[in-house]
Structures are given as structure tokens and as C-alpha cells.
């Protein structure tokens, strides 16, 4: 058994310690926000926060986490109490298929936690690890800028 701190709750996980966090979030904890995209740390679809920093959960074995706090998309808000990033993505209609969007939101959340007023160039640089295939990038950038404006 491994204890994980996910969205403020301690969870007991019965899995091989080498299991990547992504699989534990989805398969053990039924948290569907983080997505499987590549399993190689190349696309960002699985991005979550660990102690506020963006981490690629598909290449992060649960054994490496210890007591550090994991935050997933579900930890940012709910339809009743949406987080500011979620509100901004809805306001900008910043999704097409939406599959990359949870990773985008988490990556952007990490940026604003470290740098509450990023410049457009800083946003582009910071979002660089995350791939979108629908070409929703311009709206994603607008959503991040909006979230930075509207805390």
C-alpha cells in the first residue's frame, strides 16, 4: 500500500510502486481529468500539479511522490464552484475536442501560481510542453490571459 495526497485527501493505493501516477488517478481513483496522451512525457495531456508545479503524471511513478500534494483538474473546481482557469476556458470557448484541455489548464495554473501576471510571451513559453491538435491554441492563450486578469 502506498499513501498519496490527492486533492487534499490521503488515498491508500494498492498498486505496484512503479505504476505511473496517471494510471492510479484514472484507474484507482476514478479521476478522469488527467488524460493519457503519449505515456512518454512528450505531450502534456496528463499534466497535474505536485506542490503547485506542473508534473507529467504519465512518467511519474507513485513511489516518487511521498507526501507531496497532488492536485488534478478536479481539485481546481466543480461545475458549482469552478476555478478561475475553468471559468476562463469556458468564457473563451477554448476547446474543440477538449482532450488536451485538462493538461493545458493544469500547466497554466502552475504558471499563475508562480507568476500571477505573466506576459503573453511568458505564457507561450510556459505552455510549450503541451500539444493541442485541434488548433485551439489562440483561444487557450486568451483563456490564460483572462484567468490572469480575473483572479
Amino acid at each position: 500500500m502506498i499513501n498519496l495526497n490527492v486533492n487534499g485527501k490521503t488515498q491508500q493505493i494498492d498498486a505496484d510502486p512503479a505504476t505511473p501516477l496517471l494510471y492510479v488517478l484514472r484507474d484507482h481513483l476514478q479521476l478522469d481529468g488527467a488524460k493519457f496522451g503519449c505515456g512518454l512525457g512528450q505531450c502534456g495531456a496528463c499534466t497535474v500539479l505536485v506542490e503547485g508545479r506542473a508534473v507529467l503524471s504519465c512518467v511519474t511513478p507513485i513511489s516518487t511522490l511521498g507526501e507531496r500534494r497532488v492536485t488534478t483538474l478536479e481539485g481546481l473546481g466543480t461545475p458549482d464552484k469552478p476555478g478561475r482557469m475553468q471559468r476562463a476556458f469556458i468564457a473563451e470557448q477554448a476547446a474543440q475536442c477538449g482532450y488536451c484541455i485538462p493538461g493545458m489548464i493544469m500547466q497554466a495554473q502552475a504558471l499563475l501560481e508562480a507568476n500571477p501576471r505573466p506576459s503573453p510571451a511568458e505564457i507561450r513559453k510556459h505552455m510549450s510542453p503541451n500539444l493541442c491538435r485541434c488548433g485551439t491554441h489562440m483561444r487557450i492563450l486568451r483563456a490564460v490571459e483572462r484567468a490572469a486578469r480575473e483572479p
Binding site: 484507474d27 493519457f36 512518454l40 476547446a95 475536442c97 482532450y99 484541455i101 510549450s128 500539444l131 485541434c134
Partner: protein, 724 residues
């Protein structure tokens, strides 16, 4: 004319209806859109006794926003708020059969059907109300799901809506709309930003197990041996399903299945064959392979003579490259199979799976759930076939099959590599004559239908072979889509070389051959404009007779500031235009690029599009599609090519197949929409791909003075072209 007017009294909402003949319904005896295939009104719209309205479509949400647009159409004609409508999408047990969600045709087919069905349902309800109240239908007031205060659910009884649609409908006045033509927030977006379980990847059924497939390392590989002993101790492994070279590992937990397939890959021995062409000789190979040659257009006698300009263009194999690899869930129980799938065509897929499993198709149900965006025929159907094969081996247990990244990159059917040749000259008055264009391409559709188009079926003990490919005929075309210019040229001839042998697996990628043909023809137009010493925009207008085509060209040029453009060093501007399929949406794109001569890096700084998709339902939905199409086409055009050796695909992850990332983005992408209320829906999804590629290539030529005619314009090719 069967003109109706509903005029309200006493300050109630005034809704007047009149009849607007649409092309889709105007042909004698033919019903509008997909009503022609499914004519019963209650196949499309049902009203419950509780007044709840359910609308059914055979089309699927692919991230293009179709659900929202169809709800708007129904809400408009049914005179209800969009939130009052529940929409059911592609499901072989519940919805009409509308074949594939593809070809930018969902609005023309399903949108048109639902528009007319909703108007006719409203008329049926009005007749029922008129009879009940003893008031002429013309004097009734319809508002918010009620007629003279009587809720729809109180009016419908029994089989009231189980009637055949009529060819003409009392459509509402397009100048007095409440819902259509106005931006409506997408109904699917909130669930996506809160991480709710809406993708097939998220489907979790009671007792569900996880499978991974041991995919062969190359197209020609056959499994020689699999050391089962190596798998015996894999934790959680429930079953190894083997049928010929098809091997699936089934485990309780998902990562256990991943670990098992990795172990199996080490324990497997394959016989491989070198079946792929020499990548250095790709275009020569395409030209040399056997082809069926068709003259698809001939006007006058296109001849040769002095001043002929010639050019050859090339496009490599390119991928759909969905961000989420394909996935499906299958459940086989009581001799019946259910598959949850992100396929674009649940009905054709059902037939293919039934054929593969030798089951009656009535015993197979395919239900669409969203997946990652597909942009055409990716591995969705293959994953569904995997799930069907594995589920049959584990009756009673839901089986989830998730493809890995390397499988998706290596096994999805690519957009075909293509070759084109253009020849023409400019006469003394500066107009094009003797235009000749030839295009070489594989098929752009190997969709199931036939089980032989499901990749897993190739590997079974009793394999299914792909049937011989057939070209998609004009006027839409496949490899020859948009190969006939919309421009009016004196003497022109267009030839389609349909290459029948397919060394790499290919199928439909967004816009099919239109991407390459528009890139080619619109690049060539700039070459001809240069010969005529004409401005590229003016040169296009000179050859366009269609007023709507001229309108988008002018709108894009004006919004871009074409006439006042000031060229800066290292930068240039370009233009591209097409009417998709020559019968759908009009799109013009103007862009500026900057070229870094040292690194070979090209970046679009600004892109401006003008689009006419006919009658606009959700303007923000169209803008989102055009913006996305532009950005995706920039990625294809600057970065993307499938790589392979003589046996294997070698671009099997994002490092081997780079796509556009945030720092490569334009500073701005602007979309100007031209609305044509009351005109037919023209669709949007694929409209931007070709014009963007052309505008980009033309802008590169303007910036650098060098024209590149082979895609992609990646740093290596750019450096080579610039003499580094």
C-alpha cells in the same frame, strides 16, 4: 405557396413562418438532407408527454461543435430554448443511419434534416392545437414550447409524429431568428473543463477489464513465436487472447495490461518483410506505380506553346496524430456485442465488426462516445475491432482497449503522399490559358464498411484482406478533390491518376486531396500572377466569376490590409483561396510569415480568413473551426511528414513526428464570417486546410524570393532552398 403566418396578440412573442425553398429540398420528390434516407419525423424528433424534447442525429460530436449547432437548429424551428432539447448522437440502436460524420457534411445532411423535421413537427403540433381549440392555425401563438399556452407534451399523443416528412417545410423567417445565427456556448465544453467522464477513454463499466494489443512491428510482420512462459508471472494478467498474429493481453488493472504488453513485446518473435518504398524515391515511386487515369475536366483544347510555365508539387504522408490514442470498450453477452467507440461511422463499423466476427449485424450495437479529435479516419475503428475481438473471448466482462502512442502513430491510416504537375501560360491580356493539371494519389477512403479495412482483421488466423480501393467520384472527388480550379481559364484539362497500390496504409485526413490540390493550384496561381506582373489578389479576382467567391477574396484582402501592406525585411505576405469541393464553403486566407534564414525557421505572424459557410448557425463554432483549421494546416505545412524505412514506420512518437507548439504560433488569427441566412448550410470543418497551406507557401516565396514546392517547409528544406 403554402405560406403560414402565426401572429401573436396581446404582447406575446411574434413568430412568423414562411417558406424558404432550399436547394436540398428543392429537387422534386427528394426530401431535404438526411430526411431523404430516414423520412419519419419521429426518427428525428420526439416529444414526451412531459413535453421533454429529444432530437436524434446519426452524426457524432468530434469536437467540431456539431451538437451545439444541431440543438440551435432544432430550438429555432421548435420555438423552444436550446436548453429544452436533449440531443442523442450516433448509436445504431437509437439514431438514424447517417453513415460517417465526415466531409464537412453534418450541417448539410443532419442540420438540414433536423431543420425541416423541426419545422414540420411544429406544424403538426399547430394543427393539433388548432383542432383542439377550434382556432385556425394561422391565429395561434407559439412560444417557448407551448401553443396558446398548451404545452407540446399535452398536444402529442400516440403516433402523432410518426408520419413521413414532406418535401417542403414551413421554415421560420431567416430574418427574425432567435437562436440560429447567434453565438451559443458549446454544450460539451463545461464537462470537458471539469474532467467529467465523457470520453470513451473515461468509460468505466462494472467489472471492466483492461486490454492492450501486441501490435506487429510493421505492416508485413507475422508472429512466428510468443514465449508464453515469459507472461505467466505477470501480475493481474487474466488472459492472453491470440488469433493468428493478433494478440491481446487482458488484465484487471490498466497498468498491469501495459506491463504485460511490454513483456509480450520482448517475448515475441516476428517475421518481417520489407514492403515499403525507398523514402528517398517516394515521389518517383508514386509516379511509377500502376494508376487508373481519368480526365476529370476538359474545357476547350488545352495546348502547349511558347511561354508555358510548369511546376511540380509534392506532399508527404501526413498523420491525423490525435492527442489521445484510440480507445474502445466492448461487451459480449448473450450472443450480442456492444461496442462504445469514437468511430466516425457507427453504422458502417457495425457492419464491419459483424462481418469480422461472422455475427448477424442485428446482434451488434455500436454507440458513439467522444474521443480525442480525429480529423478523419484515424485508428478509432481499429480500436473498436480490437475491443470486439477481445470482448468475444471474455463473455460477460466489459473490455477496454486503449492504444498506446506508438501504435497510433505507426498504424493509423495516413493522408496519402501526393504529387501534382501544373502547366499553363498567361496571354497578352494577363489571363491564364492552356491550364493543365495532373495529380497522382492513392485513395482517400479506406473506411470500414468492409471488415478488410479494419487493421486487426488483417492479423487473424483467417485474415480479411482490404478490398481493392475505388476513387471517390467527382464532383466531390478524393485525391482529385479541388483539382479542378474554380477559376475560369481559357482551355483547361485536369487529369486524376488514381494510384491503386498502397505501400503505406492511407485513408481520409481532413480535406482529403483538397489540401494538396489547393496548395498546388494556389501556389501556381501566384507563379502565373508573377508572370503576368499582377497582384496575386487582383489576379485571382480577374479569373473568378462567382460573386460569393469574389466576396471572400475581397473580405480577406481588406481585413488583412493587403493593398496597404508594407514589406519588412525577412517577411512576406501570401494569399490562398478555394471553394471547398467546388460546391461547399468559400474560404480565403491571407497571411504574413517571417523567415529566419540562419535557422530555416518559418513562422506565420498573422493570418486572416474570410469564410462563407452559407447559413450560419453558430458563428463562434464556425470561427473556432476556421481558427483551428488554420493553425492545424500551419502545422502540417511547416512541420509534418511521416517517416519510414523499408519495413517500418519510424515516426512513432512526438519527437519523430513533431507538430506545432505554442512558440510557433501566429501573433494573431482573425476570422471574418459572411452570413447567408436562408441559404443552404455549406459546412466548415475542412474549409481552411488548403487555402492556409497555399497562403503560407506564397508568403514564404514573397519573403525569401524562393519558392518551395515540396511540403513541409521545415527548417532543413528551407535552409536547403535558401542555399545553406
Amino acid at each position: 405557396m403554402n405560406r403560414r403566418a402565426f401572429i401573436a396578440r396581446g404582447g406575446a412573442l411574434i413568430v412568423s413562418f414562411s417558406l424558404f425553398a432550399r436547394l436540398a429540398g428543392a429537387q422534386a420528390g427528394k426530401l431535404p438532407g438526411s430526411l431523404n434516407n430516414e423520412p419519419m419525423l419521429d426518427a428525428w424528433i420526439r416529444v414526451g408527454a412531459d413535453s421533454r424534447i429529444t432530437v436524434f442525429t446519426g452524426k457524432a460530436e468530434l469536437g467540431q461543435g456539431i451538437k451545439t449547432a444541431l440543438i440551435q437548429v432544432a430550438a429555432e424551428e421548435l420555438v423552444v430554448e436550446p436548453g429544452a432539447i436533449e440531443l442523442v448522437t450516433a448509436d445504431t440502436a437509437r439514431t438514424p443511419d447517417e453513415q460517417y460524420t465526415a466531409g464537412s457534411q453534418s450541417m448539410q445532411e443532419s442540420g438540414t434534416a433536423i431543420l425541416h423535421a423541426a419545422a414540420q413537427v411544429r406544424a403538426v403540433l399547430a394543427d393539433l392545437a388548432a383542432k383542439r381549440l377550434g382556432i385556425p392555425a394561422e391565429r395561434l401563438t407559439i412560444r417557448d414550447g407551448a401553443i396558446n399556452g398548451i404545452r407540446y407534451g399535452e398536444l402529442v399523443a400516440g403516433q402523432a409524429l410518426h408520419v413521413r416528412a414532406q418535401p417542403k417545410s414551413p421554415l421560420s423567417d431567416p430574418t427574425a431568428r432567435r437562436v440560429m445565427g447567434k453565438p451559443l456556448p458549446r454544450v460539451d465544453i463545461p464537462a470537458k473543463v471539469f474532467g467529467q467522464a465523457i470520453y470513451v477513454q473515461d468509460l468505466r463499466l462494472p467489472g471492466m477489464v483492461h486490454a492492450r494489443v501486441l501490435r506487429p512491428p510493421s505492416y508485413g510482420a507475422r508472429l512466428r513465436a510468443l514465449d508464453a512462459g515469459a507472461l505467466a508471472k505477470m501480475p493481474g494478467l487474466l488472459k492472453v487472447v491470440r488469433d493468428g498474429s493478433f494478440v491481446a493481453l487482458v488484465a484487471e488493472r490498466e497498468f498491469q495490461a501495459v506491463a504485460a504488453v511490454r513483456a509480450a513485446a520482448k517475448a515475441a518473435q516476428w517475421d518481417e518483410r520489407a514492403t515499403l518504398p525507398d523514402p528517398q524515391q517516394l515521389y518517383e515511386t508514386i509516379r511509377r506505380l500502376p494508376s487508373q487515369d481519368t480526365v476529370i475536366h476538359e474545357a476547350g483544347k488545352a495546348g502547349a506553346g511558347a511561354g508555358m510555365i510548369e511546376a511540380e508539387y509534392r506532399r508527404p504522408y501526413q498523420m491525423h496524430a490525435s492527442i489521445g490514442p484510440s480507445c474502445a470498450v466492448g461487451l459480449y453477452r448473450d450472443d450480442a456485442l456492444t461496442v462504445w467507440t469514437h468511430s466516425q461511422g457507427v453504422y458502417p463499423l457495425r457492419g464491419a465488426i459483424a462481418e469480422m466476427l461472422a455475427m448477424p449485424k442485428e446482434r451488434v450495437r455500436c454507440i458513439h462516445m467522444e474521443g480525442s479529435g480525429c480529423y478523419g479516419h484515424n485508428a478509432a475503428d481499429d480500436a473498436a475491432a480490437d475491443a470486439a475481438l477481445v470482448a468475444r473471448a471474455l463473455p460477460g466482462r466489459p473490455v477496454r482497449v486503449q492504444w498506446m502512442r506508438e501504435e497510433e502513430h505507426a498504424w493509423e491510416p495516413y493522408g496519402p503522399a501526393m504529387l501534382s504537375k501544373a502547366r499553363a501560360r498567361v496571354d497578352a491580356s494577363g489571363k491564364v490559358e492552356d491550364f493543365q493539371y495532373e495529380v497522382w494519389s492513392n485513395t482517400h477512403s479506406t473506411r470500414p464498411g468492409p471488415a478488410g479495412y479494419l487493421a486487426p482483421a488483417w492479423h487473424l488466423e483467417k485474415p480479411f484482406a482490404p478490398p481493392p480501393p475505388r476513387p471517390i467520384p467527382q464532383p466531390t472527388g478524393g485525391g482529385d478533390r479541388n483539382a479542378i480550379p474554380l477559376y475560369r481559364f481559357a482551355n483547361s484539362r485536369v487529369v486524376h491518376h488514381f494510384v491503386t497500390e498502397m505501400p503505406l496504409r492511407v485513408s481520409a485526413l481532413r480535406a482529403l486531396g483538397a489540401y494538396m490540390n489547393i496548395f498546388s493550384i494556389e501556389s501556381f496561381m501566384d507563379e502565373l500572377a508573377s508572370a503576368a506582373r499582377a497582384d496575386p489578389v487582383e489576379f485571382r479576382l480577374r479569373h473568378l466569376e462567382d460573386a460569393r467567391a469574389q466576396a471572400v477574396v475581397r473580405a480577406a484582402a481588406e481585413r488583412f490590409g493587403w493593398a496597404a501592406y508594407r514589406k519588412q525585411p525577412g517577411r512576406g505576405r501570401g494569399f490562398g483561396f478555394a471553394r471547398y469541393k467546388n460546391l461547399a464553403a468559400y474560404t480565403a486566407v491571407a497571411c504574413e510569415v517571417e523567415v529566419d534564414r540562419d535557422s530555416g525557421r518559418v513562422r506565420v505572424t498573422r493570418a486572416v480568413a474570410a469564410n462563407d459557410s452559407g447559413d450560419i448557425v453558430n458563428p463562434d463554432g464556425i470561427a473556432n473551426q476556421i481558427e483551428g483549421g488554420i493553425v492545424q494546416s500551419i502545422s502540417w505545412t511547416l512541420h509534418e511528414a511521416v517517416s519510414f524505412d523499408r519495413a517500418r514506420i519510424t515516426s512513432v512518437d512526438w519527437s519523430g513526428y513533431p507538430i506545432l507548439r505554442f512558440p510557433d504560433l501566429p501573433d494573431s488569427v482573425e476570422v471574418q464570417l459572411i452570413n447567408r441566412p436562408g441559404q443552404p448550410f455549406l459546412g466548415t470543418g475542412e474549409a481552411a486546410q488548403g487555402p492556409t497551406a497555399a497562403a503560407l507557401a506564397n508568403a514564404f516565396a514573397d519573403a525569401s524570393g524562393v519558392r518551395i514546392r515540396e511540403l513541409p517547409l521545415n527548417p532543413a528544406r528551407v535552409r536547403q532552398a535558401l542555399g545553406f
